[in-house]
Symmetry: C2
Subunit: 337 residues, 2 copies
């Protein structure tokens, strides 16, 4: 049997296979063995091959753009958007357009080529998150930017050609469609119910229990009722929190732990699959930031998008979130100390 | 330089690389050599391995579910949605859901294993389109269905594991999100301008010229100004037309010709890439079908979706539609007679 489920925030439908869910063995995953260490531009000693760093976690007394760092942020050498210039919006016939202003940065998560975020220590993971926060704060100072998306591509089928562990940060001069839909959906839900839709979602998941597979004092990890992809999961603050950039040391460590712990479960459960994750934080410089409950969405790349999904925006999920959470709960994380 | 372009129908943004567009050689495509003829369930003589056919183009006097067909439609053996039952909508806590009612059919486009739609004759292609129309009309008779999506996956990275040329038809009990956004966007545009947004788009493309790469009396093929994918193109009726199911013999032949001709250009331009296409037709059984200008969207699979696209719904296009149309215009189609 299958079930049609409707997302309570953006109204998207998914078709979930409930009683014939695919197990992890149904999915083919690619080999993640590192191959390109010899010419990796993200490795220590090759700092001059990237643009000059904009931030880093470094040993005391080490100089910028040389070794001695543990996390390092540099502008992308081949940026999707350019930082210089004003935003000139023009009409071209019936179409709206503007020049491609924005920022595009790369966060190198570790000096060790081939080291996997799932195998980081708490401190290593927390340092990555701390630089996410720093960059978000710093880029917010540029009033041209309205949204900053932090994301990670792991593995070739998740869209990366660089195997050295890294995240990316893109600052945009507008709020992108998917985020805008979420914000507007959350606002509509609030107007109707006087409650945050994501707070309600956390409460509902705690009540239902079966889709939660990991949690700690501050965060919960669950496969959402309306998953779009098999083994998709979200990490969400348990208490309403609209300001990712300001989370304190305690919460940062708690986030570091649930992130690496759940990534380790994912790695062991599905034989190290490729995945994407992204942070959905509140927009910046727009005045309406308070309401949004930030969270992280992790999407393993296990299947190919077909013409059905492309043409409809309707997703077919062959492993139900309930079954996926069961598998992830059963997978043992291996935590580095 | 890059440009930010905003879709006039659904408000989606794309980031187009304009002066450093990737050429066709930049993209890696997979080998499409057929490998699985020996155990193909879609080949003639194995008709009993599929569910009984619901429609076919057949030699006079040939019996259903045996050889003698040129196009054949059967229910999908592993349907995403099941045809039996009522639509029981229920609330599960804060979530809406219903059972997975729908139809899922496979249209086998040719008896010849390994034959490519790009290499079909006019008649062969027109017969495929005729059965698209038949199925659309027939499924519309089931009042439970509100939208019928016809789509095709060609090649493994486009999401198919079956190499024998086929399309799929899925009937849904609701209008899916992407289609609904298009319909609502077109309605809003009409209310503001008193003109069909797609008619305006055809006019604008004719005025700009540079994104059109093929046309005939009834149809135009162009890479849309707001392409989401490199070498994406749309085939659109030149005159406003809301009823794909009713297009006559002349238009069907014109559509067959532009479809196979543009697919042949795509094949030769990009070394036979995987692709998806889908028909965006008007909804059914909802009462509001007149306004929608149907069209086909063809999306080659040349890149992997990254966390940026997933997290934002914002697309980065490394070949501008203007450049892509130039390459497709220059690629010679080879037309079967």
């Amino acid at each position: 049997m299958t079930e049609l489920r409707r997302d309570p925030v953006i109204g998207q439908w998914v078709n979930v296979h409930t009683d014939d869910s695919f197990s992890p063995q149904h999915y083919e995953v690619e080999d993640q063995t590192p191959r390109h260490k010899a010419r990796c531009q993200f490795c220590p000693g090759r700092e001059h091959q990237t643009p000059p760093e904009v931030d880093a976690v470094r040993e005391r007394n080490s100089a910028p753009n040389g070794p001695g760092w543990t996390v390092r942020v540099v502008p992308n050498k081949f940026p999707a958007l350019k930082i210089e210039g004003g935003i000139d919006s023009v009409k071209q016939g019936m179409f709206d357009m503007s020049n491609g202003i924005g920022a595009h940065e790369v966060l190198i998560e570790t000096p060790e080529h081939g080291k996997n975020l799932a195998d980081f220590t708490e401190k290593e993971t927390a340092d990555v998150i701390r630089l996410y926060q720093n960059r978000l704060r710093d880029l917010t100072n540029d009033r041209r930017f309205k949204y900053i998306i932090i994301f990670k591509n792991y593995g070739e089928s998740a869209g990366t050609s660089v195997e050295h562990a890294h995240s990316q940060i893109i600052a945009l001069p507008m709020i992108p469609k998917y985020v805008l839909e979420k914000i507007e959906g959350a606002k509509a839900y609030y107007e109707q119910n006087k409650r945050c839709v994501f707070c309600d979602m956390v409460a509902q998941e705690h009540e239902d229990k079966e889709r939660i597979f990991s949690e700690n004092e501050d965060f919960v990890a669950f496969c959402p009722f309306v998953s779009r992809y098999a083994f998709e999961y979200w990490i969400m603050p348990k208490e309403h929190d609209s300001n990712f950039a300001q989370i304190n040391d305690k919460k940062r460590n708690a986030l570091a732990n649930i992130l690496r712990e759940t990534l380790s479960r994912l790695k062991n459960c599905l034989s190290d699959p490729s995945y994407n994750y992204y942070l959905h934080v509140a927009p910046v410089n727009t005045g309406g930031e308070e309401g949004f409950h930030w969270h992280i969405e992790i999407v393993p790349k296990l299947t190919r998008t077909s013409g059905f999904e492309l043409g409809t925006g309707f997703y077919v999920v062959r492993t139900s979130p309930e079954a996926a959470a069961g598998y992830l709960r059963g997978a043992r994380p291996k935590l580095a100390v």
